[in-house]
Amino acid sequence: MLRKRRRKDKKTDMFDVAFIHERFMDSPDIIQKEVYMDRLHEACFIYVQGLVDKDLVQRDFISPILKMSMEELSDPVCAKNLPCREVTLQHTADEAVNSIIDGNTVFVSKHLPFAISCTLLHAEQRSIEEPATEKNVRGAHDGFIEALSVNISILRQRIKNDKLKFKMLTLGEQTRQKVAIAYLDGIANMDIVNNLFDKVSRIKIDGLGAIGAIEQSIISHPNSLFPQFLATERPDRAVAGLLEGGILLLMEGTPVTLIAPVTFISFFKAMDDYNTQWIHGTFLRMPRMIALFTAVLLPAFYVAVTSYHYYTVPLILLIPLAESRIKGPFPPILEVLILEVTIEAVREAAVRLPTYIGTAISVFAVLIIGQAAVQAGIVSNLLIVIVATTAIALFTIPQTEMSLAIRTLRFGFILAASIFGIVGIAACLGLTIAHLVTMDSLGQPYFQPFIPLSFRDLSDTLFRLPRKNMGWRPLSTKTKNKYRGKGNGRK
């Protein structure tokens, strides 16, 4: 029926207003204001309530149109002279419907050969705030928000350069969400940009709940524990990514942007590392690297040592450990799993609950449950220290996705240690490294610059060298513009 009408619409060369009305049946948020032009011709202003600036629409669009005659409006030149910010003409009913859904106000009449659309958006949005999950001491305190246009403008404010480009896409057959791929022309590798654009545009889905859905659709290792795109809500981090030759993926409706290609070590960097002297930057990064090994290996070592290799425990520690363990009814693996799962539950509770209750829960759990567990003989004192150290170590990792990967990974290590002892740990470590060296992010080796080894890029890995030694962009972005400026800003 709709197709027939469209055909009819083309034949008569007049606009099919009834088709638009039919499309917007049972849509209370769509305002359809009927008017009579020249007191004779029926016409209609259509817009989505809550997406347009009503005052501006009234002043700059509705009033001027009402003062014009139908003959004047039939002339595209006159229509385009309307004093609105952006006026477009739609020649089919489908285009008009899409324009209305995008938040434009559209004027339609069956006596006109086209619809007149004006863009005067005013959607409700939250103010710009510092991201709760990516705190910063010395850096900027703004963050992206859910509105894509605002996020693009934030980037434009920081990079006042016409080389900042955005490739726009619409994803979701039902939701029609806008997605932007941002890059710096001349710095980003265009093969990677086009490759990403192709991958994203091939996504066929009814709707995207979050930007993570895009990530999961395009990554080359969907079954991996490790994140292959770096998610951030921080504009300064996004800009740093662009300047390194990376590409940003932004989506309407989420403050999270994705940076790619990235390497494993990128997830251990924080913006504060670059805001201080290089010695402090290195000093800040070191605990994170130690935390990585602690979080993955410490509980597994406890299980391996207490289950199989007790002879590796120093004699001074062996007696208190034995005394502590003798009270416990559980084998080391159960002991560790009980406490680790409890810690995970506490962490999840603290995240989901309001901040003030979450803090109380954490304190209660750590102090009361931990102490009670030791007194009841369920777990040993040493294990409390180990699990607490592991939990703190995980908090030091700046990226939530990487922290989650390590949290999951450590359970694998614990289980392997409980079955095979230290051989299990070594095998798991081997498998993890094997996986890391096989992975890639947008075709670039994930474990770079360690493997394949790039001495030049090691300057910003486990440590951070002075700025004058970091004057080049990382190899992982495959940029053709390798140098960041002579002396990297230092004379």
Partner: protein
């Protein structure tokens, strides 16, 4: 994963170096001391010279055929039928080396760390990284070797820690074993250098074959240096008498140092060397699998891949104890020597039967 087998000459050199040193060095000092006493290092030096010569001949052979591996070369030199039979024998050798490596490593692990775990349970665990890597191709296998390389500085640093315990008098008088014994011991110590022949199977995968010659020789020389260092170290540390009654002298070095905080540092060092052994083993496992695909035209399929590893694990259970595992390794050693001689023979024959060589020269010019 197109191009996932392409590697550089440097990566091939690391591949060769780790294949040679990973397993070979663990038992070499103890085996050699039985043959030549405290002159094991001279034997290794002489074998190293032989290994470098063999490496040179192998590289000359490969250069004559440019982008061909030994399977193609055999077809040129011996015709289709005999070439195919020889190719099958080479694959059998690779499989035998992989099985022998897995066999001995499983027994090592049972002796050192997991005495109560059955070998059939340990074997799959040991090759877990290889199972993952081999499926993904030669490039990931070689990338993993970069990680393995970190084990070497750790071991060298550890050796420096205990250098005060060395007694030079243990290797004196030099050459006491006599020239004849030293010459006959070459066949024993050649086992350590096995791995230098793997390049003949993978040569076409090297993206910069021009550099392959120098890097391959470099790999053999570095292996020689490492073997010399460990042999000299173990001999001057334990002395020939104590060394003679040991099975795993490399792991026994790890037990010498008394750490102020950590008890039993050896456990961690065995863990560190675990990666080197896994990589050495993985190199043979990969080459054997790669060769099966090339010679029999097998496509990449998961059922076949699983079957391949199940077969490896099952066959590695043939040896019931470490002595039988050593017997398997001895067969691998002699077969390895045979393969090396065969490759040198191929070079000689290639001067008379120039079929493939001529064609290559024409296409190049």
């Amino acid at each position: 994963m197109a191009g996932n087998n392409s590697i550089t000459s440097k990566q091939m050199a690391i591949f060769t170096f780790i294949t040679q040193t990973g397993v070979g060095i663990i038992t070499l000092p103890a085996v050699l001391v039985k043959d030549v006493g405290h002159d094991g290092w001279i034997s290794v030096l002489m074998t190293g010279v032989v290994a470098v010569l063999v490496s040179t001949f192998i590289m000359i052979l490969l250069r004559r055929y440019r982008d061909k591996n030994i399977y193609d070369i055999n077809q040129f030199l011996f015709g289709r039928l005999i070439g195919f039979v020889l190719n099958c024998l080479l694959i059998l050798y690779l499989l035998l080396a992989a099985i022998g490596g897995l066999c001995i490593f499983t027994k090592f692990m049972r002796i050192t760390l997991n005495p109560n775990t059955p070998a059939w349970v340990l074997a799959p665990l040991i090759i877990l990284p290889s199972i993952y890597l081999v499926w993904n191709g030669l490039k990931p296998v070689c990338r993993f070797l970069y990680f393995t390389l970190t084990a070497y500085p750790v071991i060298i640093l550890y050796m420096l820690l205990i250098h005060n315990d060395l007694q030079i008098s243990f290797i004196l008088p030099i050459g006491e074993a006599g020239l004849l014994s030293l010459l006959t011991s070459i066949k024993t110590s050649f086992f350590a250098f096995i791995g230098l022949e793997l390049i003949v199977f993978l040569y076409p995968e090297i993206v910069d074959p021009k550099n392959a010659f120098k890097w391959h020789l470099f790999a053999s020389l570095i292996s020689l240096a490492f073997f010399l260092m460990v042999i000299l170290f173990t001999t001057t540390l334990f002395g020939p008498n104590l060394l003679g009654i040991q099975t795993l002298p490399l792991f026994n070095i790890f037990r010498v140092y008394n750490s102020p905080i950590f008890e039993r540092v050896d456990l961690y060092l065995v863990g560190v060397w675990f990666m080197a052994i896994v990589s050495s083993l993985g190199a043979y496992i990969f080459t054997a699998y790669f060769s099966l695909q090339k010679v029999f035209g097998l496509k990449k399929s998961k059922p076949l891949y699983i079957l391949y590893f199940v077969m490896l694990i099952l066959l590695s259970q043939i040896a019931r104890d470490i002595n039988e595992a050593f017997q398997v390794l001895e067969i691998v050693n002699y077969t390895g020597i045979g393969v090396s001689i065969f490759l040198v023979a191929c070079l000689s024959i290639s001067f008379f039967r120039k079929k493939g060589v001529k064609a290559q020269c024409k296409t190049r010019t």
